[in-house]
């Protein structure tokens, strides 16, 4: 997509604003529980900006940054989260498994690892259709603990599948720290034994992620081979919007908030004179208004009727 820096900032503001609004509303039980991507916006946006329109994505339960980066309509996205008929999945999904075929967001599953098990088939279809498109498969550090991660890497390597594996290593797997769950120092190290190239990048730095992603995407597109990109990021909020994060040390959390990718980008764009503080305040006002409209749309949209319970089981 190669968006301008101001537009990238606007999308990060949009993501952050929607998720913080959801967190506020859920406390008043005015919104469903969701899984915030706060802290991971750059890791998502930087990669998705490096993709082209006809590339395909697989994501998971923590998808807000992926969907909005890809250009999802906040109104239909929130409508889905509220379980409304106007949502992208007609309300059947809720926030956990939102796929948006018209945007190339395929087969979202909330079962950890499923994005990895389905990605090779999507890529195989592209290969057999001689498409130049590639697949970007977003997964968490926890997903890399599921054996199917390795089965997916092996098959992608063996069959020359054009898959950009993107691990958002946010250091947490629900309330379990990655160190408690994984012996590996870096998730990218799992690629080499399967004959796959990889890179680890600072997932808090949008421009660093974008640069690494552009190179990785070019490689996958040209070589028709998989690549594993690990973004070292951090889950700044709880596992979900009602998780108090009681298991996270305050110093650790404070240190990580200091790396807040939105803050980093804003600062840099201000210093570079690309987006002044005033301009950013203006962007924020526009985003707030858009978010107001989106929530209004979602909240006012009709629910699916009871007959929908039995619909779309079989094709």
């Amino acid at each position: 997509m190669s968006l301008s820096l101001p537009e990238l900032l606007r999308r990060m503001l949009l993501i952050r604003t929607i998720e913080e609004r959801l967190r506020a509303l859920v406390r008043e039980s005015k919104a469903p529980v969701t899984s915030p991507t706060t802290g991971q916006e750059a890791a998502a946006l930087g990669v998705i900006d490096a993709l082209s329109q006809d590339d395909l994505l697989l994501t998971n339960h923590r998808s807000m940054s992926h969907l909005l980066s890809r250009g999802a309509d906040p109104r239909r996205l929130l409508a889905e989260i509220y379980g409304k008929r106007t949502g992208y999945c007609q309300g059947k999904s809720g926030f956990r498994h939102i796929s948006i075929r018209e945007l190339g967001v395929m087969l979202t599953s909330t079962v950890v690892g499923a994005e990895l098990s389905m990605a090779p088939g999507v890529a195989l279809a592209l290969a057999m259709q001689d498409s130049s498109a590639i697949v970007a498969c977003f997964f968490g550090d926890g997903a890399s603990c599921e054996g199917v991660f390795h089965e997916s890497l092996n098959l992608a390597s063996l069959w020359d599948l054009p898959i950009l594996f993107v691990c958002e290593n946010n250091q947490w797997q629900w309330n379990v720290s990655r160190k408690e769950a994984q012996a590996a120092a870096r998730i990218s190290e799992f690629a080499a034994p399967h004959g796959i190239k990889s890179q680890t990048v600072d997932g808090m730095d949008l421009e660093a992620v974008r640069e690494a992603a552009q190179a990785a995407v070019a490689y996958v597109r040209k070589e028709r081979r998989p690549f594993l990109l690990e973004s070292v990021t951090y889950r700044l909020r709880g596992h979900n919007s009602i998780d108090p994060q009681s298991y996270v040390g305050p110093e650790e959390l404070a240190a990580q908030w200091a790396r807040d990718p939105l803050h980093l980008l804003s600062q840099r764009l201000a210093q570079a004179g690309v987006v002044s503080d005033e301009a950013r305040a203006q962007l924020q006002r526009e985003v707030d208004a858009e978010v107001d409209r989106a929530f209004a749309f979602a909240q006012e949209s009709p629910f699916p009727g009871p007959e929908e319970l039995l619909a779309d089981v079989y094709a």
Partner: protein
């Protein structure tokens, strides 16, 4: 007696059994946080957070139980069991038999079940029938905090692999729980309410829905017997058959999908062994053969509701 939610009753049962028997240990994703009291009392060796790897969690329980430990693993939600079917069904369920009885597998698999909280089909999927169909396993589903404590303690002491399904909604519902040594034998159903004109066989959260229906029917002058299976396998045929022989009418109620569910097994057992006593068709009220939708507008229609049960019973006696 103390008032505990089912989740608290589960922790109490685990606490008592871990105190009683040093071979008992618990493993799973986040058990350290879920059961902080256990971690504090029994330490990191016996309360272990695991990687996000259901297959190896279950496989490790299989290996450990064969060695004489008594692992209790928490698999969080029933659909996550699908990553561990090989270990639970092919290993725990079959290796005693295939080895000519050289090994036993005293392990307990806890999994959340039930339609709740707009979780959707990948978190809410009632799978108890699968484990009843597979050999070598036992399956229990409590309908109250007290049952949860009594059944879990019995499951931990059982020499065989036991699937323990914990309903999400009941998990947060308080109920009276006997202090200390409270055991409910596996394989025994409970008559939750006595009655004469029809039998409702059910389990888990649907016991409450069925009792609600039975109360309504009582007001309408119809006395209905409600059987709480408690254990899905081995099934307490005697209690079910005795009730149907008395009432002559049977409605089976569960939340799980209809095809090849536990309701089918109950119905078929009665149609074979108490046919002579039947005065009317056997009705099944179950979840539909669909995934569970996440929309709060659709979710409530998945499980059978009390009015449907009332109507079904009236249809039989009508």
């Amino acid at each position: 007696m103390s008032m505990l939610t089912m989740d608290q009753a589960v922790e109490e049962a685990l606490f008592e059994e871990m105190e009683r028997d040093s071979r008992v240990l618990t493993m799973g994703e986040g058990v350290v946080q879920a059961w902080a009291r256990l971690r504090d009392n029994f330490g990191p060796k016996r309360v272990r957070n695991t990687p996000l790897s259901e297959g190896i969690i279950a496989g490790t329980a299989v290996g450990a139980s064969a060695m004489g430990l008594r692992p209790v693993i928490d698999m969080l939600c029933a659909p996550f069991l699908l990553y561990a079917m090989e270990e639970i069904v092919n290993s725990a369920g079959k290796l005693r038999y295939l080895s000519g009885g050289q090994f036993s597998f005293p392990l307990v698999v806890i999994a959340g079940t039930g339609v709740a909280f707009s979780l959707g089909a990948q978190h809410s999927h009632n799978l108890e029938a699968w484990f009843a169909h597979a050999p070598g396993l036992k399956v229990v589903i409590p309908s109250s905090s007290a049952e949860a404590k009594g059944l879990l303690k019995a499951a931990i002491r059982d020499e065989n692999p036991v699937l323990f399904f914990r309903d999400f909604l009941l998990g947060r519902t308080p109920g009276e729980v006997p202090e200390g040594e409270h055991l409910i034998p596996l394989g025994k159903a409970a008559v939750a309410r006595e009655g004469q004109s029809a039998t409702i066989v059910t389990y888990g959260r649907m016991v409450l829905t069925s009792l609600e229906a039975a109360a309504t029917l009582a007001e309408q002058g119809l006395s209905v017997e409600v059987i709480d299976l408690r254990t899905i396998k081995p099934l307490d045929e005697e209690t079910v058959l005795a009730s149907v022989r008395k009432t002559g009418r049977l409605v089976v109620v569960h939340e799980a999908s209809r095809s090849c569910g536990v309701g089918a097994e109950i119905s078929a057992t009665v149609a074979e062994k108490a046919f002579g006593a039947l005065k009317a068709p056997i009705l099944r009220l179950t979840g539909p053969d669909t995934p569970v939708p996440a929309s709060p507008a659709l979710e409530p229609f998945f499980a059978p509701a009390a009015p449907q049960i009332v109507q079904a019973v009236r249809q039989l006696v009508g």
